[in-house]
């Protein structure tokens, strides 16, 4: 078991990034034209990186599986993006944003990366405003802020309930400009199938054209994977239907370590599950917790009456309501971090106080704030979310409180990267949600958009040059090379195999089964026995999949079932690693809650002595993973128990 080198620069925390940039290698303009960079993913991380690198003069090829770069799942982010501007004058600073993010992550993130993130957060806002992103404004014309969980300051910038959309359209605009200028070439409706490695360095990818079904070979001096999160391993999540782990799973198999796979985020405020035909879950933004109060009935009888449809929420008197977050965490109240809020909701429901037809829901109530601020203010702040809720649930949330329940939302784990965002494969980089870097064991709200854009605009375009400066003498390679041919052949073999099974069960059947195993055993409460059971069940399900999956159609046409099958095959392997990692981590921290390790009050019991490290897994073969540790050293921050009381 080797220790991993994060290549964190020396020197005081606050000057590491400046120092790095002052001393890194750069590529001169005439050489930039000779260097090709492949970027997979057009979300915030991918599109921002492609646009910035194109502007610098590199040749970029960018890939996405949707029909347009603008449809990457970043588009769905609702609530906002953090920055340390301190516009409200409430005492915010780079240090405080850094501190909150480390603490929010339950002391499982790398100090230097998080500090850099906080440092560039302000540049992101400047950049986006220059692009014409229509952030919310005060009457005087300056930018407005709101609060998010895990912070006592107001530092979240937003564009109504569509912040991700507006940020992505900003970076999509910048990307489109480069496409027009010819520095970036776009490959939409293309899926990355594998990475190509030549002499130990990433030199290209194999992609499948999703319209013709043909495999293509693409060369790059460097490859960047920015393919988003793997939450769909749980089947039901707030992710898009096509969100997948395939790109980061294939690079894992080629030597890029996978870090902290068990750090998954369950978001407290989602619309509850209502039927087994359901295909996805819808988030109700965390920003709602600014004005909404979360509660369940104090009396079990009331909860039961509500479940049976005999009692309405509004008929439960104030004194009979248990605002359990305000009760348990008076200092942060409804704005505790997500992991804390989710577990508290689950605890109440498990104890018999859950509401709604299934009993798996709690109330999110706006009555008080509507009384205080007026309906129009609530409408201006959250109108589109209220509309979304009403369309799905068929109930008016201005009148009746919303019902919400936790759901899988985000994955903190991902490809292991060093300070330069380089993976353990030379020349292969990972950015955005696809990497593991900045959120430790729990991500605070409004910090994924920040990280995606930090990686894409301000970090990767620098750090990748430090690598590429050494590659200027490497001529463009022909994709006839054996390494490309072999990689393509391996992909072809796998696809042929999938098509030849001709079994009896649909892809969705297997995905749903996997989802059930994951949610029940590797979800909000994990135990040693449950995790072992999950590993066993996943292995069996995987074997069954490869014997019995049914994929209609052929390889060389639009074949959406084949696309899904290819992704589910990878989830069936990832699920096992996730459980493996959760089993290894004998502690509770952030989103990883092992029931054996909790305080008397049911809070996470971390074990810093034994587990203050990043668990980076190396692939050795199917179901065979080796653990490498990156110890986490805190020089600036005192590691404490996380308290939000």
């Amino acid at each position: 078991m080797a220790e991993l080198n994060s290549k964190t620069p020396k020197g005081p925390l606050s000057s590491k990034w400046t120092q790095y940039k002052d001393h890194q290698n750069l590529v001169n303009p005439s050489n930039k034209r000779k260097l090709d960079i492949i970027i997979v993913g057009t979300g915030l991380a991918g599109s921002a990186a492609a646009a910035s690198l194109g502007e610098m003069g590199f040749n970029v090829k960018i890939f996405c599986y949707q029909d347009s770069p603008r449809r990457a799942h970043s588009i769905a982010a609702q609530g906002g993006i953090n920055a340390a501007k301190n516009y409200p004058n409430d005492g915010d600073s780079i240090y405080r944003l850094f501190y909150d993010t480390i603490k929010g992550g339950d002391y499982r993130a790398r100090e230097a990366n998080v500090y850099r993130l906080a440092e560039v957060s302000n540049n992101i806002i400047d950049q986006c405003v220059a692009q014409g992103v229509p952030f919310a404004r005060e009457y005087g014309g300056s930018l407005e802020n709101r609060s998010f969980g895990g912070a006592q300051v107001s530092r979240t910038f937003f564009a109504r309930g569509q912040t991700g959309q507006q940020l992505l359209l900003g970076s999509y605009g910048a990307l489109s400009r480069q496409i027009k200028l010819g520095t970036v070439k776009l490959y939409d409706r293309h899926e990355m199938m594998d990475v190509v490695i030549v002499d130990g360095k990433a030199r290209g990818i194999i992609a499948r054209d999703l319209i013709t079904g043909k495999l293509e070979r693409h060369f790059g001096h460097a490859v960047v994977v920015a393919t988003g999160g793997y939450g769909n391993v749980f089947y039901l999540s707030t992710n898009a239907m096509g969100s997948n782990t395939s790109a980061i799973w294939q690079i894992f198999k080629k030597g890029a370590y996978f870090a902290n796979p068990c750090f998954t985020q369950i978001h407290p405020t989602c619309i509850p599950v209502h039927g087994d035909y359901q295909s996805k879950l819808t988030l109700m933004s965390e920003s709602l917790r600014n004005d909404g109060r979360i509660w369940v009935p104090k009396k079990k009888a009331d909860a039961e009456a509500h479940r049976n449809g005999k009692l309405k929420a509004n008929d439960i008197p104030e004194d009979d309501r248990d605002y359990f977050l305000e009760r348990r965490y008076p200092a942060f109240g409804n704005l505790v971090p997500r992991d804390v809020a989710s577990r508290a909701a689950k605890e109440r429901c498990d104890a018999g106080f859950g509401v709604g037809p299934t009993g798996l829901a709690v109330f999110l109530d706006f009555r008080e704030s509507i009384g205080r601020l007026g309906k129009h203010v609530i409408e201006e702040r959250y109108g589109n979310l209220f509309q979304m809720y009403e369309k799905i649930v068929d109930e008016n949330p201005y009148v009746n409180p919303m019902m919400i329940y936790p759901a899988v939302h985000y994955t903190m784990g991902g490809t292991w990267v060093d300070y330069e965002l380089q993976t353990t494969v030379t020349g292969l980089f990972a950015a955005g949600e696809a990497n593991f870097s900045d959120h430790g064991a729990n991500r605070l709200g409004a910090s994924a958009l920040m990280q995606g854009l930090a990686d894409g605009y301000f970090v990767l375009p620098y750090t990748i040059q430090n690598y590429l400066a050494g590659e200027i003498r490497v001529a463009r390679m022909s994709t006839d090379k054996a390494e490309f041919a072999d990689a393509e052949k391996a992909v072809q073999t796998r696809l042929d195999k999938l098509m030849s099974i001709k079994g009896t069960r649909s892809v969705d059947h297997f995905h749903k089964e996997l989802g059930k195993i994951m949610w029940e055993n590797v979800g909000m409460g994990r135990t040693e026995a449950g995790l072992k059971k999950a590993i066993d069940l996943i292995r069996k399900l995987r074997a069954e999949f490869w014997k019995d999956v049914k994929i209609p159609g052929t390889l060389y046409e639009v074949n959406t079932e084949l696309e899904k099958a290819n992704r589910v095959a990878d989830f069936l392997e990832l699920g096992e690693l996730l459980a493996f990692d959760a089993l290894n981590r004998n502690e509770s921290c952030g989103g990883h809650f092992r029931e054996e390790y909790q305080t008397d009050e049911g809070e996470c019991k971390r074990n810093d002595e034994d587990y203050k490290y990043v668990a980076a897994w190396e692939y050795k073969g199917e179901g065979d993973f080796i653990l490498h540790k990156e110890p986490l050293v805190y020089e600036e921050i005192e590691v404490k128990q996380r308290v939000y009381k």
Binding site: A48, A51, S52, E55, Q66, D67, S68, P69, R70, R71, H73, I75, A76, I125, D126, Q127, V129, A130, Q131, G132, P134, R137, Y139, G141, S142, L143, A159, Q162, Q165, Q166, L169, G170, Y172, G173, A174, S176, R177, I179, K180, D188, M241, H274, G275, Y277, Q278, S279, K280, Q387, M388, K391, D394, Y457, F458, P461, S506, D508, K550, P552, E557, V558
Partner: protein, 246 residues
């Protein structure tokens, strides 16, 4: 619920298409429209038929990927929603539902209900942005934007690029889509420097790609899932005239 579905099936861009009728039973009114199609597809796979191909991804009305023409209306009978946000409770037991792809010359069918909308990307590439490189942006609060204009800009920027406006228009005009982007920047100080070039180039590309003319019937506005207002079209026309005379 019991339903009869008449769905446009077309093998690929070159083949001719036709309607095929399917019967479906036991659909919950709480099911979304796309989940209803999932159920149909499960049954087709069961019977060794090819599932119906349709575009979708976020399933929450924001990515703009879903694009179904349902009973003669883009995104179906409900107002201000996308097809993925439409629920079966908007239909009745025993209904016949006709499902087609977007039909417009610049959006050729790829397969079944899936069309090629890359024409929209090409229009944006002409100028749907502020030309500013990464780095070197000024302090954000140096640019002040009045609340009213910023709200109007946001209204316009809410467009999801779905193409329902084009599908709704008898001329296949893309005016609502293009004007939404032009308006966003026309309303903001950041957009002023390139305003004239932007509108000219985007309109020229729109014409080149074969989108039709606007004859002021405003079916686009009526069908837009994001309630993009026709006033954006008027604003773009002003911008365009201004750009041409100067």
């Amino acid at each position: 619920m019991k339903l009869t579905l008449k769905i446009w099936r077309q093998k690929d861009a070159k083949s001719a298409g036709k309607f095929v009728t399917y019967a479906l039973d036991n659909i919950s009114p709480n099911c979304s429209f796309l989940e209803m199609l999932d159920i149909l597809n499960e049954q087709l796979i069961e019977k060794n038929d090819d599932p119906v191909v349709f575009d979708h991804d976020c399933r929450e009305g924001i990515c703009g990927m879903c694009s179904l023409y349902i009973n003669g209306r883009p995104h179906g009978p409900d107002d201000a929603v996308t097809a993925c946000q439409l629920h079966m409770r908007k239909f009745h037991d025993g209904d016949t539902i006709v499902i087609e792809p977007w039909r417009a010359r610049p959006f050729p069918v790829i397969r079944d209900l899936m069309v090629d909308r890359s024409a929209f990307d090409k229009i944006i590439q002409e100028g749907g942005y502020v030309s500013v490189n990464t780095g070197g942006a000024a302090e954000a609060n140096n640019i002040l934007v009045g609340k009213e204009n910023s709200e109007l800009a946001m209204d316009a920027a809410a467009c999801i690029g779905c193409g329902a406006c084009v599908a709704a228009c008898k001329n296949g005009s893309a005016m609502l889509f293009v004007s939404a982007k032009v308006s966003q920047f026309a309303l903001l100080p950041q957009g002023q420097v390139e305003a004239k070039q932007r509108v000219k180039k985007m309109v020229r590309m729109m014409d080149e790609l074969g989108f039709g003319n606007c004859t002021n019937t405003y079916a686009c506005e009526a069908e837009c899932p994001k309630l993009i207002s026709r006033s954006n079209i008027a604003r773009m026309n002003r911008e365009f005239l201004c750009a041409k005379v100067s």
